[in-house]
């Protein structure tokens, strides 16, 4: 496999765009990435589009209808919340395999004010949601957090601190859906959605798009002197675990992905300067500190207490504001995480810059389940 580099990234502010459609949002991000890379659409040899809710609408092709129908292979991927990062990985594989020299991925989603998310709530025509427990995401990630409470005595306040940190980070991210600080009191006393996650501990729904352009070493040298290398691209599915039919296991597949990622990149958690991880709910972030090896087993609560994952701390997590504040337009999220890491590695993150960042990780989970990890280096 060949080395692969990120030459360009683009992202629109996450929020609500009722007057635009999915291809238009995707095209906006694609044009930003092309401009950032110094390329034209005719330079792109493969386009991969990640979108979840309109995945049968040929969005990659419709994006080309907006920015230039060059007749290149265009494909559409879906992988739950890991849709965008899977699109990035497909574009990566295109270059790594030697088949293409320049590929582009676009992650895009339009959710509007869609409510609680979840699946499989019917059985034989009868609705079972709220009768046979809850299959909606707030309860699923509530239970995952309660499992951590059971194992390690993690507290409600420790989970709540994740929301405080990520909202604080988002104040300095102009592309974040929300850019407002919240106090621990605001979070703890906020409306309970599904214990232990209150309103501010749940990511919002919204619209958004992000794009990235991937190139071979030869093309990289032709276009930039400041390359960002993709040190590894890992995708895992959920292996069999004891309770996976009733309680999605977000831990094991992340651990498997992290192990592979560190091996492939020849790096360890101590080498990371920043991490963008999948904080769809505040509970999830603490679980992933341990899953990604950022701290030892059962130490995640202490890690947030000590501020070790705040910008300026030992390993800043979700400098962008995370899904909790930046937003989580499903198909866009995985590419937006890459955008954030690249922005820091280039030293272009402004007031939220992680100083001297050389190695960054982007982690995404899609329930069902899929996990991607990408480590980028300069």
């Amino acid at each position: 496999m060949r080395d692969v580099y990120v030459l360009g990234v683009g992202m629109i502010k996450f929020g609500r765009y009722p007057d635009k459609d999915v291809p238009q949002l995707g095209a906006d991000a694609a044009l930003l990435a092309l401009k950032d890379a110094g390329l034209m659409v005719k330079d792109i040899e493969l386009l991969v589009c990640g979108n979840l809710f309109q995945s049968s609408s040929m969005n990659a092709q419709r994006i080309l209808q907006q920015i230039g129908q060059t007749g290149i292979p265009a494909l559409n991927v879906t992988n739950a919340c890991a849709t965008g990062s899977t699109a990035f990985r497909e574009a990566y594989v295109g270059v790594a395999s030697g088949m293409y020299d320049i590929t582009m991925c676009v992650g895009v989603e339009q959710m509007g004010k869609m409510g609680l998310l979840g699946g499989g709530a019917r059985s034989g025509g009868e609705s079972v949601e709220g009768v046979l427990g809850s299959g909606l995401m707030p309860a699923v990630f509530g239970q995952a957090g309660v499992e951590h409470i059971r194992k390690y005595g993690t507290t409600f306040e420790q989970f709540a601190k994740v929301s405080v940190k990520n909202h604080k980070h988002s104040v300095h991210n102009p592309l974040s859906q929300y850019q407002v600080e919240v106090s621990l009191d605001d979070v703890v006393k906020g409306r309970m959605v599904a214990y232990p996650n209150t309103l501010y501990m749940c990511c919002p729904t919204g619209d958004g798009a992000a794009a990235a352009i991937l190139v071979s070493a030869d093309k990289m040298k032709q276009f930039t002197t400041k390359p960002v290398k993709v040190a590894c691209s890992v995708l895992t599915s959920d292996p069999w675990t004891d309770r996976d039919l009733t309680m999605p296991d977000v831990n094991t597949l992340t651990r498997n992905a992290a192990k592979q990622a560190y091996e492939k990149a020849g790096l360890g958690p101590k080498d990371l300067d920043l991490v963008e991880l999948h904080d769809c709910f505040a509970t999830a972030e603490l679980l992933h500190y341990e899953n990604l090896g950022l701290c030892g087993e059962g130490e995640a609560g202490r890690m947030i207490d000590e501020g070790r994952t705040t910008i300026g701390g030992e390993i800043p997590v979700n400098a962008s504001g995370g899904l909790l504040s930046k937003g989580h337009p499903l198909g866009a999220t995985g590419v937006a995480n890459i955008y954030e890491v690249v922005t820091h590695l280039r030293g272009q993150a402004g007031a939220r810059q992680v100083e001297g960042a050389k190695v960054g990780m982007a982690h995404v989970i899609g329930l069902g389940s899929a996990c991607t990890i990408h480590i980028l280096t300069v």
Partner: protein
Amino acid sequence: MAAEGSSAGRKQRPIADMLHLPSKPGEKAYLAGYRCTACGAAYIGEGRIGCSKCTTAGKIEQIKLSDRGTLYVYSIVHQSAPGIPVPYISAIVDLPEGVSIRCNLVDIEPDPAKITFGMPVEMVTRKVRERKEKNAEGVEEAVDIIAFFFRPSHN
């Protein structure tokens, strides 16, 4: 397919196929699961072709699951879709067969201070709604939809 039961002349139907209702007096409702005879892994759900743990195909048999287990974890749902009463406890219950069940935990206050990890729980069945349906003769009749719940067990 789960058996249909009746009580006081009214037709009953389980909310999910895994719930088997009594077909005659003296029988108890039970949940059906599956077991891989090659490795022993237990499953819930319908239409299993092979074993996702050991990858053996075609060695799946149906088993009757215990109506008693222990509480693994839970969440207390305060916000849900329209029409669903809140708050309620969404729980994961471990059964002795090595499989877990997602259910509502009932007859206990939805308060973390009152809920103990590992507490013994038992299954109960209750009517949750009714449907008007035409029977084989084309006559409309009421059908009770029966669901299973788990509650603290004190013995």
